[in-house]
Amino acid sequence: MHVAVIMKQVPDLVEELEVDPGGKLLDRSWLRFIPSEYDEHALEQALLVKEEFGGTVDVFAVDIGEPDEMLYTALAKGADRAFKITGEFDYGLNNHTLADVYLPFLKREPYEMILNGVQAIDDIDGPIGPILATKLGLPYVGVVSGMKPDPSTGTVHLRKEYPRGVLAEFRVAMPVFIGIQAAMKPPRYVPIARIQKAMRAGGIVEVAAEAPLETAQQVVGFDVERMYKPEAGRGAEMIEGSPEEIAERIFQILNENGLVR
């Protein structure tokens, strides 16, 4: 099985986010980046497929945020090749642009499956999976949390999540593009020493973006007017004090509502 995984870096929400002085974008000067959570699940799922069926896993990321550690981690976990696509990439929010950047690299190899996270926290113009699948002419299924390839028939069996714990099962002819919600096992942990070893071995392949700039910067039909933080704690009455004082007040509230005695 020849599998590609597309990963991206997103701002770490644990850090305070600020709007830049222009008022339309995130202030990128202090941003800390981490791999998009669902992309990590996509990588894990690809590695699980490789373990069961053999084959190769290629990981692609554009040079936004801090992709090196993410790519070395992927190699340390068992990916075969890691590609970093370099170029002028400060476009912020546009997945249509990113899709054009990835496209030539994905077309070049006969991948049977291309996986990525079903969604990222900054997908303002939609998840990249369906955009790329359309450009590649591949079938797409997203919100997938289970899969079983069947190399003998060239198909893959997929489980897609619906509300209230219901799953829909599909069978899709490969090649296919899959938006992963959750891998069938939690993403594996890899000791830092292994990542450092991968770094020393220097396995990342750097490739320059080929998408022409006018395509890359195409307008997607809307103008961002402003970005802003929701009012903090709007609506909530904040309880101050020590943990004991907070617990006391919560107890009181629950008690008034007859929920604890």
């Binding site: 929400l13 305070e16 986010l17 709007v19 926290i121 900054d122 997908d123 303002i124 113009d125 939609g126 998840p127 359309t134 079938p139 299924v141 997203g142 069996h157 489980r159 619906y162 509300p163 714990g165 219901v166 799953l167 829909a168 099962e169 599909f170 069978r171 899709v172 938006g179 959750a182 939690p186 307008v219 997607v220 039909g221 809307f222 961002v224 007017e225 402003r226 970005m227 802003y228 933080k229 929701p230 009012e231 709007r234 609506g235 909530a236 009455e237 904040m238 309880i239 943990p243 004991e244 907070i246 617990a247 006391e248 007040r249 919560i250 107890f251 509230i253 929920l259 604890v260 005695r261």
Partner: protein
């Protein structure tokens, strides 16, 4: 320009999903304000029973075919893309749901229509402005639509479903989709319903719910203890389930359970839109989170910026003390 809004209905196992009514209500409001019109498009088979419920639409368009009997992203996207190109709408609303997440972007890509995701609000006072909720609910973004038709995916819960419900006569149009069936590579097999779990979290008047902020599986014990003391159960956000700390039956949110307890205690849950979808109708929401900017505080009635474990432990002690 004819301001024609198309709402893509969503249904499963014979019932229209709430998101359909949420979108329809909003579409009706906008259309009335701009002298426009609303069409609800329903794809599937044997759709007649839905028509009556969609009385707020000017037209209900039924697209019926055996191949559409069950939702298949590829087939639905193909049928919808052709239809939207023919109808040339002004705005198209999809739900940002499990199904909508696939087909909204597939259809926009196929038709080259601009696409805006995660909309929390849409206004059409002069220009069309979409407010999207991004970065897990930590930022809002206002964007003006500059190219029409535009496709917008609407977050479940952004609008009231009640506003979209009206049972009355409306015009019905039936069409056969144009499908290149030989090109379809995706086959629907079946729906699998969850097995009854150890506990049914929708049945408890009080829920102790935990998120990634509890740090690790070992810390769960603190919350299990608290839940036991208040005859409640431990519910969770998605990452807690994805990490294997709790079974899927405990998950609250878009792909988990929709709960409406009397009180929902959210410990270390950020309040991402997909989680809020599942618990926003709790009568009382109390959130404990170390981040004062956590979006959960926007839906909570009471909040505390504190360590989840410390508060849970203190609360459990308080309850045992009171019971003695």
């Amino acid at each position: 320009m004819n301001k024609h809004i198309i709402v893509i209905a969503e249904h499963m196992e014979g019932a229209l999903a709430d998101i359909t009514f949420e979108m329809l209500g909003k579409a009706r409001e906008i259309a009335d304000a701009v002298s426009g019109s609303v069409t609800v498009v329903v794809l599937g088979k044997d759709l007649e029973p839905f028509v009556r419920k969609l009385g707020l639409a000017d037209t209900v368009l039924l697209v019926e075919h055996d191949a559409l009997a069950e939702y298949v992203p590829e087939t639905y996207a193909q049928a919808l893309a052709t239809l939207l190109l023919e109808r040339n709408p002004w705005l198209v609303f999809f739900g940002a749901t499990s199904m909508g997440l696939d087909i909204s972007t597939l259809v926009a890509s196929r038709t080259n229509m601009p696409f805006l995701a995660m909309a929390k609000n849409v206004t059409a006072d002069g220009s069309v402005v979409v407010t999207s909720q991004i970065y897990g609910g930590k930022m809002f973004l206002d964007a003006v639509v500059t190219t029409f038709p535009a496709v917008i995916s609407i977050l479940p819960g952004a609008f009231k479903a009640d506003a979209g419900m009206a049972e009355k006569e409306t015009a019905v149009e039936r069409i056969a989709p144009s499908l290149a069936e030989s090109e379809i590579r995706t086959r629907f097999e079946q729906l699998v319903h969850p097995e009854a779990g150890d506990v049914d979290i929708t049945q408890f008047p009080l829920l102790v719910s935990v998120g990634r902020g509890i740090q690790n599986k070992e810390n769960l014990a603190v919350f299990e203890d608290l839940a036991e003391k208040c005859r409640s159960a431990v519910a969770a956000s998605r990452p807690v389930v994805d990490q294997g700390w709790l079974p899927m039956t405990r998950q609250v949110g878009r792909s988990g359970a929709i709960v409406k307890p009397k009180a929902y205690l959210a410990f270390g849950i950020s309040g991402a839109p997909e989680h809020v979808e599942g618990m926003k109708n709790a009568e009382l929401i109390i959130a404990v989170n170390t981040d004062k900017n956590a979006p959960i505080f926007s839906v909570a009635h009471y909040g505390a910026v504190e360590d989840a474990m410390d508060v849970a432990q203190a609360l459990a002690e308080k309850i045992s003390g009171a019971q003695q």
